[in-house]
């Protein structure tokens, strides 16, 4: 009469399509939430999903319902002191005489916002939507994941060439012992009796008994022999798994001016820019190394903490950082093995005589080896000589070099997008 069905293994995520439809419909809201999150969150906090809040009125599905007003009677439970004819003022918020339209939120106190969480994956997807690293197509062709085969124990199924003979025979032996245990024990006992009889002088009755025992023993032995020496389920195979090995490596250089003219808020903006670049690279490369180079009049390779959080003062010589970067590339990151990305952030200050050296260094030693060089200038003042010098560089390397000007934190995300706009036609 009743059928009991285990559906637990059925498709989960039946709602995925509906969920996506929902996200699609409220894309604008979600994008805004994502942009705000990038804007507000601290750097170490980027690696998780985000909460998206949408005003409930934007999301409601309207239906005809009664509004306030008119005459209505409602029945309530739990009378304590009322008697017929009592009158009292209307409570605030409609708790007592409120409309029955069920418009109030069902969660107790009225919630005006519809909040839900998107996963990190979705968060980043929204962040990087239709972005693509320039020239990536080229490297991506090489980016086919390579696999390495490793042993991972044994399985009971596989192809013949992976058969593990010792394990298989051991399993067969174990099976034969397990299955034949009873009859062997019986044989042993029968043999013992047989030997006892044989040791004594033979009589008529023992003669018959011996005969009988021998027959029994040979029947049991025959039965034992019928156990297959090796069976299908004794077979053991080497289990080999394929593990992807990252074939595509990227290194990202973060170059930042930390001279006295760089205020904390400018550094903060620079930070966000680096983070975005890092997150984006992380999604496209299996292995990324980060190199932090900071400079004032001297450049120094530092760790992340020092890069972002220690304070320095002094003048600015940008070429020192470029020099160091070029040296590091030569020493550690051969362009044949590494995709090199460089992001430079500065407020545009540079010692006057140095800018020409910078462009020279860039064109001769750096830009020929890197995938992409992005320069952001974070300043509210006019451009200085570094910017004009870099414009020449851009003309010479339009594909590998990009520069942008940012004035406040809100512009980072749009600028980031602009820097990495889809440029597929250029990618041969």
């Amino acid at each position: 009469m009743s059928y009991i069905i285990d559906r637990r293994l059925n498709a989960k995520k039946k709602s995925t399509v509906n969920r996506q439809r929902f996200l699609r419909r409220y894309k604008q809201h979600i994008k805004r939430a994502v942009e705000e999150a990038i804007h507000d969150r601290s750097i170490s906090d980027m690696e998780r999903g985000g909460e998206v809040t949408i005003p409930r009125r934007d999301i409601s599905e309207p239906v005809f319902h009664h509004g306030n007003g008119g005459v209505r009677t409602r029945v309530y439970p739990g009378n304590k002191e009322f008697i017929t004819g009592d009158e009292f003022p209307r409570p605030e918020g409609g708790g007592g005489g409120g409309s029955g339209s069920g418009k109030a939120s069902n969660q107790g106190e009225g919630e005006d916002n519809f909040t839900f969480t998107i996963s990190q994956e979705e968060f980043l997807d929204f962040m990087f939507e239709d972005l693509e690293l320039p020239w990536m197509v080229r490297k991506q062709l090489k980016d086919a994941t390579a696999f390495e085969t490793r042993r991972a124990g044994f399985t009971s199924s596989g192809s013949p060439e992976k058969l593990h003979i010792v394990r298989s025979l051991r399993a067969a032996h174990a099976r034969r012992i397990a299955l034949g245990g009873d009859s062997r024990k019986e044989i042993r006992e029968l043999r013992k009796e047989l030997w006892a009889l044989e040791a004594e002088p033979i009589t008529e009755s023992s003669e018959a008994r011996i005969q009988e025992l021998r027959e029994q023993i040979s029947a049991l032995e025959k039965k034992g022999r019928r156990l297959p020496f090796i069976d299908d389920f004794d077979l053991r195979y080497n289990n080999l798994v394929r593990i992807p090995i990252p074939s595509s490596k990227a290194v990202m250089f973060c170059i930042m001016d930390v001279s006295g003219s760089m205020t904390q808020s400018i550094k903060d903006m620079a930070k966000r820019f680096f983070i975005l670049l890092y997150l984006f690279l992380e999604r496209n490369y299996k292995q990324i190394e980060l190199v932090f180079v900071r400079h004032h009049t001297h450049a120094k390779e530092v760790d992340e903490q020092e890069f972002f959080y220690s304070r320095e003062t002094g003048g600015t010589i940008v070429s020192s950082a470029l020099q160091l970067t070029a040296d590091i590339i030569d020493a550690r990151y051969a362009p044949a093995d590494w995709n090199i990305y460089i992001a430079q952030a500065s407020d545009g200050d540079n010692w006057d005589g140095d800018s020409a050296t910078c462009s020279d260094l860039l064109m001769r030693r750096i830009l020929t080896k890197v995938q992409y060089y992005a320069y952001v200038e974070i300043t509210s003042g006019p451009h200085q000589n570094l910017w004009y010098e870099y414009e020449h560089v851009r003309e010479a390397f339009p594909d590998a070099f990009a520069m942008q000007h940012i004035t406040d934190a809100g512009e980072i995300y749009p600028v980031f997008r602009k820097l990495f706009e889809k440029r597929t036609e250029g990618a041969a």
Partner: protein, 508 residues
């Protein structure tokens, strides 16, 4: 509990297994049959909490067409569940033949038995027996119909684009409550017929419509007749039906989508009208059936403790001034009503004999069965709410007249208030009072093709603030101007809405 027999419980632990579920189902089924419960065959499905959330999100159905609003529901449910703000309902049961009930794998065996008794025998017998379900829904066809609907809408999306279909569905959903026939009996169809007739319908409607609109005659002719001859002749309560059959600009596939939404609305219509009864019936029977098992020694004391714990939290009714109060709990009201009927039958007092002369002292199984079959919430309460129960629940009614500064206690649980209280509680469950009564009043067939809807006001209650939004949806479906008038019982128009709004139209 009479002399307790030797106990040989079915299970002692709290873990469930398929064998145990089968045994419990068999025993509960046996007891249910002894009480005369008539059910569809059961299909009990074990699912995970994630799948439960999926089912939740698609209005409890095992399959449904895709729409963002179900996604929203899902996201909401998921969020609340993960934060621990709400537990999942421990069961979902579908009015289909066989009757599908979901059990969650996280539950203990006692909970599974409770759900089996509640859903597979309680709700199931209600679905099969109640006149509204028998009249309005076709349990054997619903799953097939949903499959048809899902596929049809998917094909539409492929052909006309997701956005197009989504907008149409949005508009239909806004009118879903007005997509039901309250009086006419729909004919059940098999899915094969459904497909055949869908094609025939497309053709027919388009032809028929062309005739209707082809006869558009220049306006000046017979202006007098225009006033007297309304179309439709009688106001039409089923807005979606009217739109499906008469909207001038809809494509055939759009009409079919309107129809799908309308059919699904119709399927759920009885559930909205029998919530108290349905839950009350199911709760009453899980209570009764499991006690019977206990009396027979088939379940342990621990089992009963767990069962009673969740039973009593289900039927808890917070008083009106509690922060947890959110209206009358249908489980409480329903369960108490059913228990009370049994009490009146078995142990009637003098008061009961006076109030319920025909059921006092009768066979309770038969009386309850009759009640379940022939009533809906409104009439059920009107018929069976006893003074004693009103006293137990301490019911009172508040009269809220927007014209007066104060609220008034209209009736309480005393001699002079019983009848009034009962009528008022019953009318609270009258769908006609809860939802604004809006009907198609007229179409200006010979003029600008505008559609006029009328809201027949109940107790001077106006429409809510989302009315203009809904009218936009009506406008999208109808394609021409839409008006909505709120009229008093004296046929006086007190408020009118229009879409597109007047000032936008007048601009040259």
């Amino acid at each position: 509990m009479s002399a307790v027999k030797e106990r040989s419980p079915i299970s002692t632990g709290s873990e469930w297994t398929f064998d145990l579920i089968e045994t419990y189902d068999r025993e509960i089924g046996r007891v249910a049959a002894e009480f005369g419960l008539d059910t569809y065959p059961n299909q009990i499905e074990i699912i995970t909490s994630e799948q439960m959330m999926d089912a939740y999100a698609s209005i409890g159905m095992p399959l449904n067409y895709n729409h963002w609003s179900f996604g929203k529901q899902f996201v909401d449910t998921e969020q609340n569940y993960k934060r621990g703000r709400m537990g999942l309902a421990y069961e979902i049961v579908i009015n289909s033949n066989p009757c599908i009930a979901y059990l969650m794998e996280e539950n203990t065996i006692a909970m599974q038995a409770l759900v089996i008794a509640h859903a597979c025998y309680g709700h199931n017998s209600f679905f099969k027996g109640n006149y509204l379900f028998q009249t309005w829904t076709d349990a054997s066809a619903i799953i097939d119909y949903l499959l048809f609907a899902k596929n049809y809408i998917r094909r539409c999306e492929e052909r006309y684009g997701v956005n197009e279909v989504e907008e149409l569905l949005d508009s239909c959903h806004a009118l879903m409550n007005y997509g039901v026939n309250r009086y006419k009996r729909p004919k059940p169809l098999t899915p094969v017929q459904e497909r055949e007739r869908q094609l025939a319908r497309e053709e027919y409607i388009q032809r028929h419509l062309n005739q209707l609109w082809n006869t558009t005659i220049p306006r000046r002719e017979e202006a007098v007749e225009q006033v007297t001859q309304r179309y439709p002749r009688e106001p039409e309560e089923n807005l979606l039906y009217f739109i499906e059959k008469n909207a001038p600009l809809l494509e055939p596939w759009q009409r079919e989508v309107v129809r799908i939404v309308r059919k699904i609305a119709q399927y759920f219509y009885p559930q909205k009208q029998t919530q108290v009864m349905n839950e009350g019936w199911a709760t009453f029977w899980h209570y009764t059936l499991l006690h019977q098992l206990y009396d027979e020694g088939l379940v342990t004391d621990g089992f009963m403790m767990e069962f009673l714990h969740s039973h009593s939290s289900v039927i808890y009714q917070p008083p009106f001034d509690s922060p947890y109060f959110s209206g009358i709990n249908p489980y409480t009201l329903g369960f108490n009503l059913m228990q009370d009927i049994r009490r009146i039958c078995e142990h009637p007092t003098a008061e009961d004999r006076e109030w319920f002369p025909d059921i006092a002292g009768s066979n309770w199984v038969e009386t309850l069965d009759q009640a379940m079959r022939n009533y809906k919430d409104e009439s059920f309460i009107l018929q069976f709410l006893s003074p004693r129960l009103m006293r137990e629940l301490r019911l009172f009614s508040i009269l809220d007249d927007a014209d007066k500064p104060t609220l008034k206690v209209d009736a309480i649980h005393d001699e002079s208030g019983y009848r009034r209280l009962r009528e008022e509680l019953a009318s609270q469950y009258n769908l006609g009072n809860r939802e604004p009564n809006i009907q198609v009043y007229n179409v200006d067939v010979r003029g600008d093709r505008s559609l006029t809807l009328r809201h027949y006001m109940h107790n001077r209650q106006p429409l809510g603030e989302s009315t203009d939004e809904v009218l936009k949806h009506v406008h999208r479906l109808w394609g021409f101007d839409v008006k909505l008038e709120s009229v008093t019982p004296d046929n006086e128009v007190v408020h009118s809405y229009q879409c597109p709004q007047q000032n936008q139209v007048i601009l040259p």
